[in-house]
């Protein structure tokens, strides 16, 4: 056991030293993070509690609905954990920077395996654990789980976390061992992404909204039985849900059977993974150290890029070309587009299946209201994209930032080139998203115009917030690109983006309400331009502030780094 603890000690001591490190800025940042965390917990607890209380008002169905929700939540957690463990195990076992140091010492291979498994589990699971606390607390509070439920959560949750971690480590070992060495990281990233996107689609296209439309079931008993039956009996998420359901809703299942099942897998899978690791680790790690294959430059692409960046000054053009080429050649960056694609498809699909015709409100008014909400939602989609692509812009310069620092270019032109580079694709995405969803909604002309102009202005602000806050909190030392958006700066960027979108929506809410009511009363809308003009001017002013302020703040921070 001792080597295991020794192998874990650098991580633990590093955390402790990091926590002890003083400084006002650090303390404030920690306080802000704790505040954000508590706020999130309270918000999640309140929302889940409300939903569960609402379920309870549905006669005879409260527990069944709560059970279905629990299944969905645990299934989502399981897929997130599996995805995250796959990527994390690749880093901890095969790409970590301390591997050479650790593997050149006489530390036993088994201790090394288990130490890395613990690190992988903690790194991959802490976020799920964090998200799950208020959810379980809400379940316990609404269904009177009490101490017994808390005890079962404490018993089951660690087992639930270990299974995907061990499975992730096992799959990673096998993949690294069997795939061509030069593409390991790329291929695994694709595998993970593919798995995630598939799960996302499967979940969406299984149409969970069907469960709240009982008319689609022939008989009430069919419906009830569908609600009480787990959809995937072979998954640890179902076993955990069965145990919790037996405590919370007195569901007549053998909780000890499911507990034995989950425990046996939680003990067997790490053992199986350790056997596989003992057999294949060194070969796999040797492969992982081999160099990557270069790519042949494409003349056509070069010509297109030179033409596209032609209007910009030479220095901005040089930075843009470098950024675009790096983006296209770094699979870990551009493969995130798959996530974006899934997000957009599901988003548009949601509009297609909206049951507008069954609403008691006149369709035209409802379409206007939904279209207006859609502008805000499209803004959120854009900010999610901006946080993935615009926010890491400065951080991606990484340890090569000195090249820009020592070059005869101003940091201002660096930031603006990153702004324009991100703005164009975001604008195209935003406009297309709003245009097509509005087409599906068949909104009135004035609403179409307002949506397109608003999202146009909003994109400028969202891009500048992404680039500016990214420069304000640069993260030059990262192991993986995906770490950058999840940093503290990423959270700040998200908060600012959401606040900006919220303010924009609030400025436009009143005139849209007036016009929607006019439509409701008279059937047609007149003078829309005059009613909307002042608020559009207000949004334009807000956008200018949202563009200038973050870029200025980011620039100031970069200048401080240079000092």
């Amino acid at each position: 056991m001792r080597p295991l603890f020794v192998l874990l000690s650098p991580t633990v001591i590093s955390w402790r030293n990091e926590l002890r490190a003083g400084g006002r800025a650090r303390r404030l940042r920690r306080l802000a993070l704790i505040g954000l965390g508590i706020g999130f917990w309270i918000g999640t607890y309140w929302t889940i509690r409300r939903v569960l209380l609402y379920f309870q008002t549905v006669h005879d169905l409260g527990a069944a609905l709560a059970y279905q929700l629990l299944l969905i939540i645990l299934l989502t957690f399981l897929s997130m954990l599996l995805f995250s463990n796959l990527i994390t195990s690749l880093s901890t076992y095969f790409l970590a920077r301390d591997l050479e140091l650790v593997r050149s010492t006489p530390a036993p291979a088994a201790s090394f395996f288990y130490a890395r498994l613990i690190t992988t589990t903690v790194n991959s699971s802490w976020m799920v654990l964090f998200f799950s606390f208020p959810i379980f607390a809400a379940y316990g509070a609404v269904f009177g789980g009490g101490g017994e439920f808390t005890l079962w959560v404490a018993l089951v949750l660690p087992l639930f976390l270990v299974i995907p971690a061990a499975l992730g480590a096992l799959i990673t070992h096998l993949l690294v061992y069997s795939l061509p060495a030069k593409r390991i990281r790329d291929i695994l990233f694709f595998v993970g992404l593919f798995a995630f996107v598939m799960l996302y689609f499967l979940f969406r296209f299984s149409q969970p909204e069907r469960l709240v439309q009982p008319e689609t079931f022939g008989h009430f008993l069919d419906f009830l039985s569908a609600m009480e039956t787990p959809s995937s009996p072979y998954l640890p998420s179902t076993w955990s849900a069965e145990i919790f359901a037996s405590v919370l809703f007195d569901k007549p299942t053998d909780r000890w059977f499911f507990f034995a099942l989950i425990t046996s897998y939680a003990f067997f899978l790490p053992l199986a993974a350790s056997w596989v690791s003992a057999a294949v680790y060194l070969s796999g790690w040797s492969k992982a150290q081999e160099a990557r294959q270069g790519r042949r430059p494409s003349n056509l692409l070069d010509r297109i890029l030179h033409w596209a960046t032609h209007p910009f000054p030479p220095t901005a053009k040089a930075i843009m070309l470098k950024d675009i080429k790096t983006f296209l050649r770094d699979t870990t960056q551009w493969s995130q587009l798959f996530l974006l694609l899934a997000l957009v498809v599901v988003y548009v699909y949601n509009f297609k299946v909206l049951p507008l015709d069954r609403s008691p409100i006149p369709t035209e008014t409802l379409r206007t209201v939904i279209s207006f909400t859609n502008v805000a939602l499209a803004g959120f989609v854009l900010s999610a994209v901006a946080i993935r692509f615009a926010f890491p812009g400065v951080s991606l310069e990484g340890s090569a930032f000195w090249i820009l620092q020592s070059s005869p270019i101003s940091l201002k032109s660096l930031l603006w080139s990153k702004f324009w580079l991100n703005l164009v694709p975001l604008l195209v995405l935003g406009e297309l998203l709003v245009f097509f969803t509005n087409l599906l909604l068949r909104v009135p002309l004035w609403m179409m115009g307002l949506s397109l102009v608003t999202i146009f202005l909003m994109t400028f602000g969202i891009t500048a917030i992404g680039v500016g806050i990214g420069a304000l909190y640069p993260k030059f030392n990262y192991d993986h690109v995906a770490e950058i958006p999840t940093s503290f700066g990423g959270a700040v960027c998200m908060i600012f983006s959401v606040a900006f979108i919220g303010a924009t929506v609030m400025i436009e809410a009143w005139p849209v309400y007036v016009l929607a009511m006019q439509g409701l009363s008279f059937g047609t809308v007149t003078g829309a331009g005059w009613i909307l003009a002042p608020s559009l001017a207000g949004v334009a002013v807000l956008t200018v502030i949202a563009v200038v302020l973050p870029i200025k703040l980011g620039l100031k921070r970069l200048e401080e780094i240079c000092e």
């Binding site: 001591i13 140091l101 006489p106």
Partner: protein
Amino acid sequence: MIRLENLTKHFGKLAAVESLSLEVEPGEVFGFLGPNGAGKTTTIRVMMGILKPTSGRASLGGYDVAREPEKAKAITGFIPDRPFIYEKLSGTEFLKFVGSLHQIDSPLLERRMADLLEHFELSEWKDELVEGYSHGMKQRLVHCASLLHEPKILVVDEPMVGIDPKGTRQLKDLFLSLAKGGTTVFLSTHSIGVAEEICQRVGIINRGKLIAVGTMAELYRMARINGGGLESAFLELTRDKEPGAPDTKEP
């Protein structure tokens, strides 16, 4: 002692090391020279069990690195060319970590740490986080870590990078004194001056093949040069030969 038998490592189609056989005796300082990309670091990584050889065998102190890696590593100290140190650990914490991996008992570890930190002039900084160290200080800390367990074999990859002249002198003296005490020192370096000054024998690797091994005098003879020292011999031996030109390696 170090023994490499027909050691071969291929990266895809590229033969980074090919049929390399070599023996280094206890108490010897052995220099391993070669141009960039010749296969020096790959050889060392295979020797240390960091890379798996495509074929062949490496043994350290009689222990086969593939079959008994823990025993082989327990008697070996390693200084890589680009060492990693946990930035958020203090110098003392880092050394304690490495010492614990080598299972050195506490009182001995404390004593060794104090001696080595003193020797490498790091005592004053031992409780500072590594992230605050200069490049040279980090190098010296890695040297401390590699010597904590009093290894019988020391494998060093480019030891003088980033070290000032005083540090270089100290390091050369250290290698010589270790060898005097019976430690085998395997030194991979670009610095011909260092090799010439402290190595009893030198091996020259080029394009993955060991093309010459011997004492300085033997190398001069193989290169067929009368003067100019090891540098001339190295340049002559690693010069691109015409096809069909005779191999200079001694049988």
